[in-house]
């Protein structure tokens, strides 16, 4: 089963660390990611640039608007995404609790939804609409 894990970064705590300590943690994270890859548990993932680089697309009063933001007022920012191939939720928890990233902020683990049936039904509806 696929699990998508959202890694949050506790920014104030992170900025308190010395550069050496930050580097040590970053290295530990990538070493662990390499282990996940070796063991077949890595199903993809990316780090995210800062929230100031984001563009927000929203539908507002009948029009699509693009603004910058989000304006992260919270002290925890979404730092990256990781996709896991795990046997079940407990296995996913086990893999993430060994991830050095948990020392930098909380992680949220969610099972990937199987949208196959939803996509199939939607395709059927769209086919009907074009006839």
């Amino acid at each position: 089963m696929k699990y998508i894990c959202f890694g949050y970064l506790d920014v104030p705590a992170w900025s308190q660390l010395s550069p050496e300590e930050q580097n040590a943690r970053i290295d530990a994270c990538f070493a662990y990611d390499a282990e996940l890859k070796r063991n077949g548990n890595w199903a993809g993932g990316e780090g995210l640039q800062g929230p100031e680089t984001a563009a927000m697309v929203r539908f507002d009063q009948g029009r699509v608007t693009v603004t910058d933001g989000p304006y992260a007022e919270t002290k925890e920012l979404l730092g990256g995404l990781l996709m896991l191939e795990a046997r079940d939720l407990n296995h996913a928890i086990q893999l993430i609790s060994n991830h050095p990233g948990v020392t930098m902020g909380p992680w949220e683990i969610r099972p990937a939804a199987d949208l196959t049936e939803m996509i199939r039904a939607s395709e059927a509806r769209r086919r009907l609409a074009t006839h």
Partner: protein
């Protein structure tokens, strides 16, 4: 040995995983003293087998090979973790500091470690629902999601329960062993309870289409046999008898359409005679043991049903007597409800209905589906149509299992 074709090897490994993963995991937990590390080792070992066996052929003792590969993979992991040297509380320490040294010396030919594992999972320091969840996951190999759906809880709740239970085992340094004689009674009761729970999960024609799990019942029976071999205690034999006698009826319990077939309507020629005979033998030994408890008494009731050639030939007087004994050993409103149903079969629906109404008046069974279904059934037989319809409707409202819902809905539809 000749290298295998990749597809044939993958299929063989899959079959091996189904048959052996539980035993291998139990052995690895004993060797490593850590549930999570053992699980990782198990999966690494099967991945390694796919590669190595394709190259070298399947070894003579595949299980021993996998145990040995699993522990070496786990050592690898520990070493890698030590190298990355991450300051983390979450990294589990092996319970035994000499685990690494012990690993090298262990004989890979190991006895069945699952009993030890069950006793660990059922330690009195853990809550019973945590024990059951842990046993189903670690001993029976169910996923967290499957256990959650069987227990009608959320996977996250269940996952937390399992994580906490594992942490508790680690922190309390609960030894991975079958306890000594002195600790046995308290521990054994918990083990029997969990075993019965596992059996029932497999036996119940349950809420989802895929949730009837004959493999779980088989597993519970297999573990019951092991337990009897190790501890020929009366109630252990009683539980094994009970499971065998119930399991014997499986082929007749579900119609080809997947519907529930009531005991009185079952085709008794489809009952498994060899299971009934084996159950009967264990029941006789349990009865002779002198420790006659609730499992043995329930097995005795199941045996009366199993030995009746036709539903009409059931010895209801004997069953009522056994329910009264059961009510004294393990009193519960559910036992009284079943006794009332037996009285209705012997003395007529009116007598049974009076007992059920008295029970419902006490309030214990107000939300218990079978109580309302039984009441509906007796009212129907007495021609009290309005009351019967109301009782079935209440039962349908409460029912969660799909076949049970269909059965009740059909009964409701039969009324004019």
């Amino acid at each position: 040995m000749a290298p295998n074709a990749p597809e044939a090897l993958a299929a063989q490994l899959e079959a091996l995983y189904r048959a052996e993963a539980g035993r291998i995991l139990a052995t690895l937990i004993r060797l490593l003293g850590d549930f999570d590390l053992a699980e990782d080792g198990l999966h690494d070992a099967f991945a390694a087998a796919l590669e190595a066996w394709a190259r070298d052929g399947v070894p003579d003792h595949p299980r021993a090979w996998l145990v040995s590969a699993g522990r070496f993979k786990a050592i690898d992991r520990l070493r890698r973790r030590a190298r990355t040297d991450v300051p983390m509380a979450a990294v589990p320490e092996p319970a035994d500091p000499d685990a690494l040294a012990g690993l090298e010396a262990e004989d890979p030919e190991v006895a069945d470690d699952r009993l030890r594992l069950i006793f660990t999972c059922c330690h009195p320091a853990l809550a019973p629902e945590a024990s059951a969840a842990l046993t189903l996951r670690e001993v029976c190999g169910l996923t967290t999601e499957a256990i959650a759906s069987a227990f009608l809880t959320r996977p996250t709740t269940l996952a937390q329960r399992i994580v906490r239970a594992k942490a508790r085992i680690r922190e309390a340094r609960i030894p991975y062993e079958v306890p000594g004689r002195a600790d046995m009674p308290a521990r054994l009761d918990a083990v029997l309870q969990v075993l019965y729970l596992v059996f029932n999960e497999g036996y119940a024609a349950s809420s989802g289409a895929t949730l009837t799990r004959p493999d779980l019942s088989d597993e519970a029976i297999r573990l019951g046999r092991l337990l009897v071999e190790l501890l020929p205690d009366g109630e252990t034999m009683g539980l094994l008898a009970l499971m065998l006698l119930h399991e014997a009826r499986r082929p007749a319990r579900i119609s080809p359409e997947g519907d529930l077939v009531l005991l009185e309507d079952q085709d008794r020629s489809r009952w498994d005679r060899s299971r009934i005979a084996e159950g009967r033998r264990w029941l006789d030994r349990a009865m002779a043991s002198g420790r006659i408890g609730p499992y043995t008494l329930q097995a005795a009731i199941a045996a009366v049903h199993a030995e009746a050639p036709r539903a009409a030939a059931t010895d209801w007087t004997r069953i009522i007597g056994l329910y009264h004994l059961l009510g004294r050993v393990a009193p519960s409103p559910v036992v009284e409800l079943n006794a009332a149903a037996a009285v209705a079969m012997r003395d007529g629906p009116e007598a049974g209905l009076a007992l059920i109404d008295a029970l419902l008046a006490q309030g214990h069974l107000a939300d218990y589906t079978p109580a309302h279904a039984a009441r509906g059934d007796l009212c129907r037989r007495l021609g009290r149509t309005g009351e019967a319809r109301a009782a079935y409707a209440r039962a349908l409202q409460l029912a969660r299992q799909e076949p049970e819902r269909r059965h009740l809905a059909r009964r409701l539809a039969e009324f004019p």
